[in-house]
Symmetry: C3
Subunit: 203 residues, 3 copies
């Protein structure tokens, strides 16, 4: 099996758990949790594919996505206590997830013949738009609009991937390096509480 | 005229009224009411068609949809008092609407060659996503994330339809049975205050 | 260069500034500002193109859009104080923007063979849906649902354009007249505090 496909499914699973947990915070019921899980896991790729005209979207033809999301919701309902104790593990896989989603969006866009700037943007869209939609549907201002170097890590990762491609680096090596850099940027940002500048009425 | 087409238009009309009334609750103006009516009535089918790659969506080629929604908004503005007195009638047609929308989404997906799990999901999307978008745009947490066996009724209805199809039941009979079961589940759920489990920090 | 294309890019630039400023009001960071700018500037056209099945959307193949939006965000961050002093100028270009976006949506829909009612609706969608999405993502009820003759100006402009087309008026003259009428309606509405009727529990 393709390594990136394996991590895509893993990322989908982790994003679905994150969606389910955010539904729990908002006291949503099982259906609300399912909805939040699907939106978080599939929202970014769906927006990307609709914008690029690459429909039907991938998860209506490959049943692994819907299956894993359903399993993730049930799993989270049953093992909630244990999952809450695994915050660090979840955070780690979530970061792997955004790294992989970034690369998938990037490679897909390049493969369809779009230019590198669009590909970087679509990498970021794939990685973050699901979480943005999740927050919007549960009536929060999306967290990533205010905190954390999250999208920025994806942008740097995507640029690195493009740069390394120019030197004909082996694709698998490139993917691993890119994901590692995305993880590193995010960890460093959290460790040192780095955040993006704001524009406020006081500037 | 096809019976399902007639009920599709009826469901569109009732969903548009429901959108207009929710706009009234939020003190939106006529344009806000139009927007809420269109989103409620067309949102689910539009998302479904974009995801499945079945565009242009149906309501840009068949003028009955836009016409009926416009009529519904005007009608609700003019006869608001009387409509408010018809809550039970509206509720009944709304339930018929979600039943019919479920079947339309299901049959369309199957007709396009997607597998039954995707078809069930698209049935539910057709029925509930318009209301979810309506609530999100007027800045509420979607009601169906927290209350009522609504989406669940659609899921059971869709599964029943698939099951009966396996026995080569006549399509019209199948549709009627499915819609009746969706109505029945919803009524029973409301009567007995049934709701889906939640996942909370206390589990 | 086509005049309408020039104004399309100008409208995109001004909408991106408006998105960035609304992000500032909500204390979003640079990424939130980028997101708001892209959504405001591109949201309407993207929804239109997805609904009409005209994908990939225009801004993934013509790099001017993404470039100008990025410039607009940086520009707004750097010159915020000066921009805040240019409210009237911004308002003027914003109104030009919605006028031009209305015509672009209208002409594109007609060009694809859709009927005039759909074309008017798609003109309005092109002009207003970006702002609606911006407000929704930053967790506000969209302003245009409650105040100002904004969408209404677009509708009247679009109808005028269709009417004048029937008389074989030169396209450029028609465009200029339409945009002027949209500007005029909006200015008159603000001057005299005109607004659309509401439907409330008291009617």
């Amino acid at each position: 099996m393709d390594v990136i496909y394996f991590f895509d499914l893993l990322g989908t699973f982790v994003f679905a758990i994150s969606g389910t947990l955010s539904a729990a915070n908002k006291k949503l019921d099982l259906f609300g949790a399912m909805f939040a899980a699907f939106i978080t896991a599939l929202g970014g790729g769906t927006i990307r594919d609709c914008v690029l005209g690459s429909t039907p979207v991938v998860w209506v033809t490959d049943m692994w996505y819907l299956t894993l999301i359903t399993v993730a919701v049930v799993f989270t309902f049953v093992f909630k206590k244990h999952i809450m104790g695994l915050k660090k593990t979840l955070f780690f896989f979530d970061t792997v997830g955004i790294g992989v989603f970034t690369i998938i969006g990037l490679e897909k866009s390049l493969g369809l013949g779009f230019n590198p700037a669009v590909a970087v943007m679509m990498g970021v869209v794939s990685a973050v738009f699901g979480g943005v939609l999740r927050d919007t549907f549960v009536n929060d201002i999306p967290l990533i609009f205010r905190k954390e170097i999250y999208a920025t890590a994806c942008i740097f990762g995507a640029l690195l991937y493009l740069l390394l491609s120019l030197f004909n680096i082996d694709r698998n090596v490139n993917i691993i390096l890119t994901v590692l850099v995305i993880i590193a940027i995010r960890l460093v940002a959290i460790k040192f509480k780095l955040s993006l500048p704001r524009i406020t009425s006081k500037n």
